[in-house]
């Protein structure tokens, strides 16, 4: 079998532009081999190299006193949390595979992010996910497809997370037409480690052996790669699976084996095989180490017969790691991997010539300077279209909906409705650390072994981002921080997943640039670094691009278990306060979209100084022990936030939002930022007011919690009331109703 000749068509099919191919020729000083063409193609793809986005990503603030490993250095960033302990966390997408095969696409996405964490030497302790689909309502073919994708993705995440024994403790799910045909699956993982356990993915130590550990290599992920040395006949198509299949059991074994291995002193470097598998891990470790790596394809454990070097190099088989072992300590790998019943093989060594060299027995099939693949790839500055901020919403053009019917309608909207149908499928209690279960603003996890309390939230309102990407991105950061504050936590770090359309289109590239700048501004304002993240571009179909969706995940710490706060009202007689303004910004709101079918107007304004002052004021009174519940206002404004606060313990509330000349729908459903609904014991009212007055933030008492499960809200002269039981039934019943029909 001989390789195909390198022709312009072959080069184009490998996704390399003529200019990029010229660069290949000048790097090598000769024509590439077929395998080398494949290697450049995959390492210089957008997915692996971020060539269209890296110049923008450099704008993120990535340093700070608590940063132990910063963004871009390794597979995940690491942040100090005190007493010699640290956390490694990151979010990543698996959007396109999930559109093809939702169960395996989502499952392997979870598998990939978990590996990114334990390759840092951290024990993974929890997961979160941010999911977006098209509408699941109605009987159109598209709605049926969206339901199938939603069910498949959730089942895939459940399958992988439950089997490997990691709790999924928080997340978000949104439904919007722009995601029809382009679901978004962003998976987050956090792990815990001691400072001295940080593991690096560099090929250190000339002469050290290079080991392959984990599952055997098959032809996974090669259906997209148009070529191998055989012609693509119907038979050979069957040999190329369109999807990778995850094996969470294998990964559990791999995780335990790798952590056991890392606890010995036998490891010089370790890297997981994710996108571009063996190729990526080989050249990246060499590049980071400033060394070279030489491997022999024939030594790689394989599960299919007759695989070519090209296929082995580009395979995306899951659950595999590359380990650089200290010479003389090979027996440690053998002992541990035989204990855990996992394939392992010594496949090469670290060299001193800076090359990624791949042999097929005696033949050298790849010999490329490692740096040119991993660090010195092409970079592009794309064109950003000029942006005109949207006109503010013209309220006079908006009919007033009756809040009595509008509130239940909002609670029924699948983006707002209860996600219990989702998280009940996840084991969210394994590892006995989840102190605040899904269903509150932020998840809270107690890491027993470190005696540390972590909080985490993930947010992005893509309607805001669509209408003004810069404001939307800033709000995503602020909302995460607000959710953390509501749980009693202070933010320590951010990871981002940028989901956008085709970057060659200037309007999409503007969105990416503006989002990065907005996130950077937000992170600087809150004093938190971006520790790493992921970029997913080309999320579009003939109908158009997805709404720009820069998903933000934020991690925080809580100093004392007594500060852990949840969103549900606790007892009748408690007083309800609003920290922040009543607000009036209805532009870009879910009320506008869900009730009036309009996605327009300017998103609400964000003032970081005001926002931070409000979070600090809240944290101050939480630490003093006054706050019995805290819930921030987001989609659906005060109406939804107060209703949701009633649901947890089936309580009611009697609320008066004060004199106003605003319309009731504006008062109840506006999405002005920086607002938090809290409840306190009546006996603490005077002290609370004194404490809050000192901070200078706006606040007002708005009512009290009642025993009868009835919610009544007065705005100006208008009064509405609802049965909390009926609202709760609608809130809980919405998604099951669509999914179980």
């Amino acid at each position: 079998m001989s390789n195909p000749a390198i022709t312009p068509e072959l080069i184009a099919k490998h996704g390399l532009s003529p200019e990029e191919y010229e660069k290949v020729l000048s790097i090598l000083g000769r024509e590439p081999s077929f395998e080398e063409l494949g290697v450049f193609s995959v390492m210089w793809s957008e997915h692996c190299s971020y060539k269209n986005s890296r110049p923008e990503l450099r704008k993120f603030p990535t340093t700070g006193p608590s940063v132990l490993v910063k963004a871009g250095e390794e597979n995940a960033g690491v942040i100090d949390i005190g007493d010699g302990w640290a956390v490694a966390f990151k979010i990543e997408s698996h959007n396109h595979p999930s559109a093809v095969e939702p169960f395996q696409g989502a499952a392997t996405g979870v598998g990939g992010i978990i590996r990114d964490i334990f390759t840092m030497g951290a024990r993974p302790v929890f997961l979160m996910d941010s999911l977006r689909f098209g509408s699941i309502e109605g009987d159109s073919e598209q709605a049926k497809t969206n339901r199938r994708l939603f069910a498949g993705v959730v089942a895939g995440i459940a399958h992988y997370g439950n089997c490997i024994g990691l709790p999924t403790i928080a997340g978000e799910v949104y439904f919007d037409e722009s995601y029809s045909g382009n679901p978004l699956v962003n998976a987050f993982c956090l792990g815990i480690l001691r400072h001295d356990q940080i593991a690096r993915g560099a090929a250190e130590g000339i002469g050290n052996p290079v080991f392959y550990v984990g599952a055997e290599t098959g032809r996974d992920g090669l259906a997209g790669a148009a070529f191998a040395s055989r012609e693509l006949t119907e038979e050979s198509k069957a040999d190329r699976p369109a999807v990778q299949v995850g094996d969470p059991f294998r990964e559990k074994l791999l995780l335990e084996a790798c952590l056991e291995l890392l606890a010995t002193d036998a490891v010089a470097g370790i890297q997981d095989m994710g996108a571009a598998g063996l190729t990526c891990s080989t050249c990246e470790t060499a590049s980071r180490g400033g060394t070279g790596v030489e491997i022999d394809i024939q030594l790689v454990p394989q599960r299919a017969k007759g695989q070519t070097p090209y296929e082995v190099l580009l395979s995306e088989s899951q659950e595999r790691m590359l380990v650089i072992v200290k010479k003389g300590r090979e027996d440690v790998v053998k002992r541990i991997f035989e204990k855990w019943d996992l394939p392992y093989a010594e496949i090469g060594k670290v060299t001193d010539d800076g090359m990624m060299r791949v042999r097929n027995g005696n033949d050298v099939v790849v010999n490329i300077p490692a740096r040119s693949l991993a660090d010195d790839g092409p970079l592009y500055s794309r064109e950003a279209a000029p942006f005109t901020p949207p006109a503010p919403l013209d309220l006079s053009s908006l009919p007033q909906a009756d809040p009595t019917t509008a509130l239940p309608q909002l609670l029924a909207h699948p983006s707002i409705a209860s996600k219990r149908w989702v998280w009940r499928q996840y084991d969210h209690m394994v590892r006995t650390g989840t102190a605040v279960l899904p269903g509150s603003d932020a998840a809270v996890f107690i890491v027993r072994e470190a005696n540390k309390i972590l909080a985490a939230a993930t947010d992005c309102n893509a309607i805001y981002c669509k209408l003004d990407p810069s404001v939307g991105a800033r709000i995503a950061v602020a909302e995460c921080a607000r959710n953390l504050a509501c749980s009693g936590a202070v933010p320590i770090g951010v990871t981002d997943n940028l989901n956008f359309g085709n970057p060659h289109k200037p309007e999409n590239f503007y969105q990416l640039r503006a989002a990065v700048e907005g996130i950077s501004e937000g992170c600087r304002a809150f004093g938190v670094p971006v520790t790493g993240g992921n970029v997913s571009l080309y999320n579009e179909s003939p109908a158009g691009a997805i709404d720009p969706t820069p998903t933000i995940s934020m991690v925080g710490t809580i100093a004392d278990a007594a500060h852990i706060t949840t969103q549900a009202f606790k007892e009748a007689g408690d007083q309800v306060y609003l920290i922040g303004e009543i607000g009036n910004e209805l532009g870009a709101s879910h009320y506008l979209l869900a009730i009036h079918g309009r996605k327009e107007g300017a998103p609400p304004a964000l003032d970081f100084d005001k926002e931070i002052a409000i979070h600090n004021a809240l944290l101050g009174v939480i630490r003093k022990g006054f706050v019995r519940s805290a819930h921030d206002c987001s989609e659906g404004g005060l109406g939804v936030a107060i209703a949701e606060s009633c649901f947890g313990n089936s309580l009611g509330a009697s609320i008066d939002l004060g004199a106003t000349d605003q319309r009731p729908d504006v008062v109840l459903f506006n999405e002005t930022q920086g607002r938090i609904v809290i409840s306190i014991k009546a006996s603490d009212a005077a002290t609370l007011e004194k404490e809050l007055s000192v901070t200078g933030v706006p606040f007002c008492k708005i009512g009290e919690v009642t025993a009868n499960a009835e919610l009544s809200i007065k705005t100006g002269t208008n009064s509405c009331s609802w049965s909390v039981t009926s609202l709760n039934e609608i809130f809980e019943g919405s998604i099951p109703k669509f999914m179980e029909s």
Partner: protein, 237 residues
């Protein structure tokens, strides 16, 4: 000083709740709990054995079907025969049924979805080493997390276990009523956990180790472990 109870928590490839069980046990003063790898062949010196939850062997083929052949299972069987306390939680319960140490089997939840949530159990028999500090009719808030928890036994076997008082906990509502609505998975008779004829082997689908700390959802799982400690103490005196 000798511990009040020395427990072996068996770790199979794919066990996930092993360290959770160990931590819960260690929260009882005087209790010693060690993780024992499935390839060991002796359980000498242990007062109790716990088979924890998780996905041993990925739950592939049938839940627990491969773990039941692990080398340690010979020692588990010998321990059970000798009257040592053997507790199987979730996947542990599935392994005990596959191994024939408990009757019946666990099938896929009738709703077909994995379910993780807090629910209520009613204690049916408090005259066992696992339930002695509890009382008959007591309602406990203990969470489940499983996709295959639907207890099944053929009619003859089922009649026997009911008649012999081998059903220790049933799914119920908050008031202790055993109703179809309170049954999360379709188990016959709302059965959540059963013991062996000899009373020293107990398997249940819910996770008591997850409710041993008020910060993490409650303490209602402590009764089962406390009962075990007292039973071990009694047998030593």
């Amino acid at each position: 000083m000798a511990p009040l109870m020395k427990v072996a928590v068996i770790q199979f490839p794919g066990s996930n709740c092993d360290t959770d069980c160990q931590a819960a046990l260690l929260s009882f003063p005087g209790v010693d709990a060690e993780i024992v790898w499935h390839k060991e062949t002796s359980l000498a010196g242990y007062d109790a054995v716990v088979l924890p939850g998780g996905f041993s062997y990925g739950d592939y083929l049938r839940c627990g079907s491969i773990a039941r052949f692990s080398p340690i299972m010979g020692a588990v069987r010998a321990a059970a025969d000798a009257g040592v306390l053997v507790l199987g939680i979730c996947n542990g319960f599935q392994i005990l049924c596959e191994a024939g140490l408990l009757p019946g089997t666990l099938l896929r939840n009738n709703g077909l979805l994995f379910r993780c949530e807090h629910l209520h159990l009613r204690v049916e028999n408090s005259e066992t080493p696992f339930t002695s500090v509890l009382h008959k009719g007591q309602v406990l808030d203990i969470p489940i997390a499983h996709g295959e928890g639907n207890y099944f036994a053929d009619p003859e076997t089922l009649a026997q276990i009911e008649a012999n008082g081998q059903v220790l906990v049933r799914y119920c509502d908050a008031s202790g009523n055993v109703t179809p609505e309170a049954n999360p998975n379709g188990s016959l008779g709302n059965i959540a956990g059963i013991c062996s004829h000899g009373r020293n082997v107990f398997g249940l689908m819910p996770h008591p180790e997850r409710v041993c700390d008020p910060l993490l959802g409650g303490s209602e799982g402590r009764g089962i472990f406390q009962s075990m400690i007292e039973a071990v103490q009694k047998s030593k005196s």
